[in-house]
Structure formats: C-alpha cells, structure tokens
Symmetry: C2
Subunit: 434 residues, 2 copies
C-alpha cells in the first residue's frame, strides 16, 4: 500500500533526545517512509523513487493530528491478558503462587496465541507499534504477532523450572527467522529463579550468537538481598561477572541499584527498562530514573504484563515515569516531558534493536501513529510533547500503523481477526480455569 499523509504536524526525533515539529507531508510506500517534509522538494523524491509519480492507495488529511513514531513497549508478558483483574490486591507471594502459577499450568496449546492477540489489540489502542515480550511459548507469541501484522521482539523466560538452553537456542532461530515482524534476543527470567550454571550457559550462548541478554533485574529489595547472600554481589554484578554483557542488553524494572550497578550499566551501554505501574501495584518500589539519566544510561518504558498492571497503556506509564521520578527526588524539574517521550519511542527501539523504526525519517520502517488534537485534553496547543506526555490518553490515538499497514483506525481493528472473537476466546480460556 502507498499512503500519503498531508497537512500533518510531524514529530521528528532529533539529537539529544529532543523533538522537532515539521508541518507537512509523510509518505509511506510499502513498509517504508519515503518522504518527510514540508512538500517543497518533491521533485527530488520522485527522482529518488525513479518514478514519474506515485499512485496512492490512500491520501489521509492529517489536519488536526500529530503524526509521531509509534510507542515501543519495552517489557511485557502479553498473553497474561487472561489473568487481568482475576486476582488483585493480594500480597505478591500469594498472588504469584496461589493465583498465577496454578492457572498458567492449565494453559493449553493455542491459548497463548489467542491471548496475545487480545494484548496486541490493546497495544494498538494505545499507539504501541512494537512490544518486547517474555512468556511461556515464544513460537505461539511470534505467530500471533506475524498474523496480526504487529511487531514483536521477544526474549526468553528461561529459568530452572521451564525451558532449557537448547530450547532457548531453538527459539532464537525459529523466531528470528519466522517473519520480518518477529525478533528474538537472549534472556532468562531472573537471577532469583535461575541457578549459576544455567546463567553461565546463557552467557556462553550470548557469545556464540552475539546476542544481548535480558532479564528481570532488581525488581524487589528482597531479590537483591537474597542475591547478595548467595554471591556477595547484586544481580547486575553477578551477571557482569559471568560475562553476559559482551553484546549489550539490560534489565527490566531496575529499582534497587547500587553505585557499582549504575557503573556497569553505563560502561556496558545497557538499557534500564522501567515499569512504573506494575511497580506501584505490586508495591515493589520506585525506580531511580533521574540517576539513570544523569549517568547517561539509556532508559526505556514497559507496561509489564496485564496481570500485574493491569493495563497496557503507554500514556499511563509515561506520566508515571516523570511523576514518580519527581516525587522520589523531591524535585518537580527533573525527567522532563521530552526525555520521557524519547524513552517511550527511541529508547525502547534501542533496547529492542529496532533502530530501523525508532523515528520518522526517510528510509525508516513505517511504524507510526496519529494523535488527535481536537479533544479537550490536547487543548490549548501550548506544547504538543507536554500535552502527549502529561495529558495524553488512549482516546487521542486515531490511527496506528505497523510496517506500513494500518492496523487500527478510529476504534476499528484490521488484524485479520474479529474483535468479538478475540474477546470470546479470552473469556472462554479463563472460564475453563475458574
């Protein structure tokens, strides 16, 4: 499909985590952006395309909309949609061991495929164009994304109780080769569920495959204390000692860091993915986001899964990233809006190795969204970026495009499945387990 957006305010990502608004046109040909500009230099574009003109399948008047890069949800467990609002307001251990694990055991083949589709639909309503997923069946997850036309990078939830190193290697290849929309980076569940030997195996595999490594890192105080008891080191330090970061990577949550942890993240160019809603709801803590930024460490934002959040909404997370940083440090001036928008777009893309769809520019993959400004929460138009970060909502997302295809527009989904069927399937799966 060739799609022309005109009359739009196009949010372009600049150096130093800044954004610039260009008023004009954005052209999509196939799955790529071929032009972003004010429309004054179109001769050049046609020459480059080696075509006298482009036949448009659709021309979209974007007057009153901001066209911006899609959000990247840098940590989630999409298929946990079935457990949304099923068990909440419980102490963490009771929630996990008595409610979550027993239900996960009852999942049947195909369930994760369907449950992922529900998660993908929710991402689309929130302007999320790619997710970084970790759950039980990487093949089903990848198949759901490829079938919907959605972009998913996965890592593994490998631990002492599920999967294995050889399965991990197999997943890596199958998922990376399945589709241009599906990727896989090495990872494991967390230090507290994974013995030293298995972690050493992951480190070796990362050298062999030249892959970054990801895991849940320092989410709770207890996790870090127990790791210190075991190794005399934090999770960041033991994984560094085991040689896991030769090809980068990072951690999810990253709340309880000491000076040495920050140093390792800085030195290795790792990314801290922050998950503020989940950290509140599970009473885990508030991440030291301001310190990460001060040290020049890359930060990305994730919703975590719908069982712990319970909502897959980047607008909620963006407000929390800055709001929680401000209250944690007692300083209303820190972690400003532009920095947060950068994390939610280019920061996530960096974590997921999606540099080809991290911003709106010629040659980039067309992963973009339209934000409706003609709603009360976007008025007056004092500052688009601040309006989006501080005041934005799912209701402002008018269109979500992934890889050049419109998957969501004005409340309708175009993912090759009927929404009613996806909802029915999710209800059927959880009903079976009650």
């Amino acid at each position: 499909m060739n799609i022309r957006f005109y009359n739009g305010k196009i949010l372009c990502t600049k150096e130093n985590h800044k954004f610039e608004v260009i008023e004009g046109e954005l052209w999509v040909k196939g799955n790529k952006i071929i032009y972003v500009g004010d429309g004054g230099d179109l001769e050049e574009v046609y020459k480059k395309q080696k075509e006298p003109c482009i036949l448009w399948d659709r021309e979209i008047d974007a007057k009153g909309y901001v066209i911006m890069p899609g959000f990247k949800n840098a940590h989630t467990h999409s298929a946990m949609t079935f457990l949304r609002s099923f068990a909440d307001d419980l102490p963490l251990k009771e929630w996990l061991y008595n409610q979550i694990f027993p239900r996960e055991e009852k999942l049947m083949p195909g369930d994760i495929y369907h449950l992922c589709k529900l998660g993908i639909m929710e991402y689309l309503t929130s302007g999320i164009t790619a997710n970084f997923d970790m759950y039980l069946n990487p093949i089903e997850i990848a198949r759901a994304s490829a079938d919907c036309g959605f972009r998913t990078v996965q890592t593994s939830g490998l631990n002492d109780f599920t999967r294995s190193l050889s399965l991990l290697e197999e997943d890596y290849h199958i998922v990376n080769e399945m589709s241009e929309l599906t990727g896989f980076l090495l990872g494991f569940h967390g230090e507290y569920t994974t013995g030293r030997e298995l972690m050493e195996g992951v480190a070796k595999l990362s050298e062999k495959l030249k892959s970054p490594v990801w895991f849940h890192n320092s989410e709770t105080k207890k996790e870090v204390e127990e790791c210190r008891k075991r190794y005399g080191m934090t999770p960041t330090q033991i994984t560094e000692a085991l040689g896991m970061y030769a090809f980068g990577g990072g951690g999810y949550h990253c709340i309880f860091f000491d000076d040495r942890d920050f140093e390792i993240y800085r030195k290795r160019g790792l990314t801290a993915v922050t998950n503020p809603s989940s950290n509140l709801k599970l009473a885990s803590g508030i991440a030291p986001t301001a310190r990460f930024l001060e040290e020049g460490i890359s930060v990305a934002i994730g919703t975590d899964g719908p069982a712990s959040n319970n909502c897959l909404d980047m607008f909620r997370e963006m407000f929390l990233v800055t709001g929680l940083a401000k209250v944690r440090e007692g300083d209303a001036a820190i972690v400003p809006a532009e920095e947060v928008l950068y994390m939610a777009t280019a920061g996530g893309a960096r974590a997921m190795q999606l540099s080809d769809c991290d911003s709106l520019a010629e040659g980039k993959l067309a992963d973009l969204i339209l934000i409706d400004l003609n709603q009360p929460n976007m008025q007056p138009e004092n500052d688009f970026v601040k309006n989006i970060v501080y005041s934005g909502s799912k209701s402002n997302v008018a269109l979500t495009m992934v890889n050049g295809r419109i998957l969501y527009e004005k409340g309708e989904f175009f993912i090759g499945a009927e929404s009613g069927e996806v909802y029915a399937k999710a209800n059927e799966i959880i009903e079976r387990m009650k």
Copy 2:
C-alpha cells in the same frame, strides 16, 4: 426527556463501600432515576408513576456496557486549562510566581467562563458528572456549568490577597441560588496564604451559614512546618482551634498529617480529598490513604487543576490512589479497587453534599455514565470494578449524563457550544498572554 436503558449491567452502590451488578433496566424521567432493576416488577413502577405507560424519548440498548454512577471530581481549578502544558518541569516556586500568577493577572472578564467550558468537556470525556471547583471568579464558573448543563459545587479561593469575607458571603448566595446545578460551600485558599483574622472570619461565617469549610491542607511539608512555627499547630489543628468544623468540610491534598490531625478528621467526620497526579508532578509527596481508611475517615478523589496535573482524568487518579498507597506502605493488598471506586463516586458526592446523585437508585438524580466493555482493556470480564479501576480509560466512556441530560456520547458533546469554538477561545486567551 424520558430515557430507558435496557440490557445493561448496572453498578449499584451497597453498604460498606461495596458494589453489586444488576442486569437489567434503568429508567430516567426528567432529571431523575425512576427505576433500577431486572424488569420483573414494572407494574409497581407504573403504579408509582401514576401513568399507564411512559413515552420514551429514547430507548438505549446497553448490551456490552456497564451503567454506573458518574465520577465526582472532588478538587479542581477547571479554568486553569489555559495554562495546561504552558509551564512544566519547573521548581514549584518558579512555576507559581514566575509563570502562573503573572498570567492569571492578565485574565479578562469572560475568560474564566470560556476556560471552564473546556474543563467541563474534558470531565465529560472521563465520565465525571460533577466537580468541586475553586478559582478566581465563582459567578463565571457557575454560569459556565449551568449553561453546559453540568453540575458544579464551588468553594472559595479567598486569601489575604484576593476576595473578601463580604464577597465570599455574596458568592455563597448568588451561586447557591443560580441554578439547581450550581452549589457553593465555604472555604479559603490555604493556611499559608490566609491570616488568622481572615480565618476567624471564615469560621464565624460558617456558623452563620451552617456551611462546611474547605481549603488546601497539608499539601507540602514546608506548609506544615511554617504553620507549626506560626501557631505551634498544624493547619488542621489551627483551623479546628478556630472552630471551623462545626458543620464539617475537609481538606484538599492532606499529605502530611500527624496523629492529632487524623483524630480531628475522624471526630469531625471530615473528608480528605486526595490529588495523586498533582502531588507527583509537583513533587509534593504521597498521601497516607491507607491510614485514612483504617481510621474510617471519608476519602474522595480530585484531579487538581490542569496547570499542575495536566490532565482531568479520573481513571488516572483512581489507579494512582491505590498504586501509590500500595508502594507507600509496601503492601500490595491495601486500598482495594472497590474502595477506590467508592471514593471516586459516593466519596466525592459526600464531600460535595451531593447525596442525591451519589449512586444509581430510584429517586436519585440521573448523573450516570456508560462504560464500553467491548474494548480490549476491559476483556476478559473477570471483574468489572477491577477492570474499571485498574485498566479503565477515557476511551471506555461511551456516554455521560448529568441531571437526566446526555452531555457527551461517543465523542460528541451536547453542551450548547461547538467544541471547535471552545478550543479556539482557549488558544486565543493564552496567545494573548505569551
């Protein structure tokens, strides 16, 4: 208008801050609810109405929707919409003195009227059916609400620099008598802006008018410390000592409370209105919500104004009330979803003396909203209340009715003003001040 909702899931407020779902019908005649039930006892309803039948102006199939009481936004400064995203990420003092106050001085007659309308539109998109407002011109605020068909209770921002006791008394009468939609309760800005003599005057006036008293209370640590220096007491204690609570009332924010403050609130039956987004964004702190509940103190929820939040969204606030309480106390089990939904509806109504529209029942005023369940964030349907509190969004609000009139439905406003004009006016006002 007579409006019949059928096939709906109706959320009814029960004792002990619980909710019950009734599947069936809700009838609105004029501005009142005349029936809520499963439709099995309609003979009785007709008999009570002394009519053989009701001629419906509209019959709405509510299949796939939850019908619930509208949210009550228990603390806000609606007209500050013009300053949304105008100045953020600044230290509090610089923000207030260099950015906010100089612009407020430039407001011209009529501006507040128009700016309030923009706030009201945003409330409607978030399912808010009444607000508790405090700002510079109570008459313009009341006029905006009455003209839109929206319900607003106001208090005064009286302090040593603006308004006076005689103006306060005048406002009280004019606003309370203006319309069935507009009310006024006594109040003043805060202890830190209001001298002892003026506070004594408010106390006397409250006795004369038998009105509760409201003010910004213990929002920042500094405010409480300075009050202690002045009076050897906290703001709660000095206002109690001045005899302000003979007819109830309460405070906005209520973050830094000591044991004696809790005792006064409990003994006097006062309400603590919590404003979590604003408290994060201005780096003020996290309110002791769990303690208020433990002590049986009534809690309500407010968005605060759009200059400090920047968003007028009860869904964001509800998630934050529970999430921040959980992380503050390190306990994922506290301040459960039902309790939060109660605060956001009946709790707010109690604060605003709106007991006639606090819930859905026969004889109550028809202030209600429809929540669309056929969206991914509301699926599967494990628990409606938890879905609304933990996962709900403005995008789920399909219809907002105030006093029996539909003011918002599926993205369209019915407030006697064109949305484009309201946006243009707000932009014009702030442009004038740049």
